[in-house]
Subunit: 531 residues, 2 copies
Amino acid sequence: VPHGTRNPIGWGFVEEAATDKERRRLARALQAFLGIELSDERRPPPPEAVALPAPRIAAPPHLSGLVHAGHTDRLLRATGRSYANLAHIRSGRLEHAPDLVATPTSEDELERVLEWAHKSGVAAIPFGGGSSVVGGVDPLVPDGFAGVMTLDLQGICEVHEVSTVDRTVTAGAGILGPDLDRALAPHGLTMRHYPQSYLHSTLGGWVATRSAGHYATHLVKIEDRVEAMRVLLPDGRRIDTLRVPASSVGPDPNRLWAGSEGALGIITQVTARAVPTPKHRQVSSVHFARFDRGLEAMRDIVQAGLQPSHLRLLDPYEQAVSAAMSGGRVHAGSTLILGFEAAELDVAPAMAAALRIASAHGGSTEAAAPESSAASWRSTFFRTPYLRDAMLDWAVVAETFETAVPWSRAAGAYASIRDATLEAVLAVCGTGGVLARTTHAYPDGISLYFTYYGRGRHGALAEQAGEIKAAASAAVVAAGGTISHHHAMGRDHKRWAAKDVPAPYQEAIRAAKRSLDPSGILNPGLWWCPG
Amino acid sequence: VPHGTRNPIGWGFVEEAATDKERRRLARALQAFLGIELSDERRPPPPEAVALPAPRIAAPPHLSGLVHAGHTDRLLRATGRSYANLAHIRSGRLEHAPDLVATPTSEDELERVLEWAHKSGVAAIPFGGGSSVVGGVDPLVPDGFAGVMTLDLQGICEVHEVSTVDRTVTAGAGILGPDLDRALAPHGLTMRHYPQSYLHSTLGGWVATRSAGHYATHLVKIEDRVEAMRVLLPDGRRIDTLRVPASSVGPDPNRLWAGSEGALGIITQVTARAVPTPKHRQVSSVHFARFDRGLEAMRDIVQAGLQPSHLRLLDPYEQAVSAAMSGGRVHAGSTLILGFEAAELDVAPAMAAALRIASAHGGSTEAAAPESSAASWRSTFFRTPYLRDAMLDWAVVAETFETAVPWSRAAGAYASIRDATLEAVLAVCGTGGVLARTTHAYPDGISLYFTYYGRGRHGALAEQAGEIKAAASAAVVAAGGTISHHHAMGRDHKRWAAKDVPAPYQEAIRAAKRSLDPSGILNPGLWWCPG
């Protein structure tokens, strides 16, 4: 079932591009809250006008039909979907593109393609939905390769088994989020894993990047949902990890490939833990005069053992812009979106307990939000990335980034990262602002998610975004945060990852890579690739 | 605070050895339910009479006071505490013992000791509480080492920080379970991690072996409780993983050392996630005519999203022996011990929901058990290993082993593993029996825990146990189970671990080991050690 036409020069599907109404609301919000006046709108070049470097290699005859070199084939996989990626596309000329694109529809076909790459010294970049915002699929590889081939895995998407007894699904790693849920739905199950890229990302991509969904607590990270997987190595070896709920035999193999971003083997199949489709839902909004009081309430809620599905604290700036864009009411202060969902158990007692805690921290609760508001938020959440295309039209520099820190550093990290980012936005752009919200909460800490907007200059957008990213990333590291809570490392975070991945660990994983990928062809250019 | 005198020839503390009353009850149960008549009681030799091989190396003068070679020092660390280990000790002669024992009380002292081992080609075996039942600390190393030094880490046990905000504790890896909880108690916190070795095992040992506590669901495995750790490498490099609640930067470093059994570096410090001390408790017993109906009830309970602290199904044999030993009533059929605990939230609704599910599967509930029964079971749980010493006196062959399987294989695995083990017990011993219970439950599967008893022969006990273990382990593998759910791999499970750790993964971890431990001195002899 095709979901839409993949947009080779923007986010998602061509048919789903931002509407005029969405663009007008965004423009009003940017003007009202961030002082960004919009003018000089420039639409992107048509896809066929984006120049790509000439392919350096050709596919051998025995791979005919499996490997392609057409302009659209290559353009569609030439970058991920970071702001800088899209700005580069709009320049009308990409410095890097895969020489070839493979579209295997089975593990055997993938093996044939990989075998050739392995023997020919061709770098191979696994590509799921291509929604990486961290340079994870950008064909930037060190010197020494004959060329670069991107492996589009969406054809390896068969659903092999749904076990209603184990509540697991075994599927090809290239299956897209909605297709996976479509296979589960008749059994009353769902993956209930909704990253913002849900419509455009794959099960294997989630695992390879240690993705998190939009639910705030409990089963947040995809690596906790992996029962087993199959990995294909370039020299033809296959690895099937054991289908068991837990084990203590050595370091967990599943955890070596979770987060490996295709550099340690190609994840071709995953057995994932599904959950029953939620039937009971309650959602509330709680207002706090101060962001840090909201954080304290959140902490007490999760540390009490409650596991809300929604627990998202918007800072005053995020609250204002978000309300303006959705046509809602703008409040002073911070808003906590609090929700519970369950398949079988009543959620009312948990909601009541959470609201008591919030109230004890000075939160004031409006009338309970309608049950539909969670679904409505999710759909807004999926729409947001389309607005980046509008911002690129307007020369607005805008990016999101996130981190996670222990609770003891949460308020400090929020303030210092926000301040540093705002300072950089103002230095680079003159005008702009920074918004923040929490996305995920754990008993020992929290994920903080920032969005900034600044008035940029056509032709310099990627550089401007890069300058701001450098300042923001340095602030994240200084605050003791991870450089990525749920977007992986990619190529873009290498400079700031020394604390996340200490040097001796990096060396050990590189040694493991040499064993798994002797020719070093798998997604070279990531930190665990030598060179 | 000393907890007791470590028993060099049996389990635990000398002062806590099985009482005459416990021995009488056990003897009655073995006779009544398993037909094992007890005679020919033989007490173990005194510790000073156990012959050890002469040390092959001496400590250099600069390590004086840190490294010891006395008989008791070496005997105490000459084996773990598997049945075979204890049987070997009772033979009065150990073929293998560490040549030296180091007792560092700081990371700096450990570094000095390790540096010497690294330069001198001396194998170094990290040793926490020494309670391994899988040969994890047995000084059996491949040829080529100058000698073997066991590193007793119990001196590295300082509590560096208790964060009541993050609910974490940072402590030296050598801290024993009770000491860790003693540090947490004034803050209203506990690790709430009670392996059967709790009194005799260390935080670092738990992490290195991917231990599980005695609670049945939710935060079962210690690796889910690790926020960060420090690892010391033989060449002096130190690794501190980042203190964050979650991340997506590369494969998770904490998961490389969780389960590494000291072969990839010495875990010297752990920041672990504590929990608030439970205040609310309810416990019930539910009887099922059939074990498999009990399994179905358990599955529905966990898949409904309930997270009972106790969810332990005893098969009819386990139920009978366990009741006989505790002086309780013997029922026909299987018994499900069901309990909920919470620090702040009411547990009654969850208990009611679980009992409704159990009842729908034909379970009949007795009057709720007194709240103290969970604590009483825990204390019985801690007493059980002392009874092995009595069984060795009586020439009863007795061992426990466990696995985990998906729900869809649970009933089949229970039957086939039980049958194969019983067949082996009868073939080897003539008389005996097999007991089983579940220990841990997950949404996608379960851990099954078996105990067997057989009439053995003094002088042949280790061999008899080994023969039965081989048959039982083969049945575990044939049933698709992991060869160890919570006791790690050690040396004893290597033969049966090919499905748990597929060959290319083994090679990759060996490559990582060569990078982390260039001289290969760390706990050689495990699967991830070459040779």
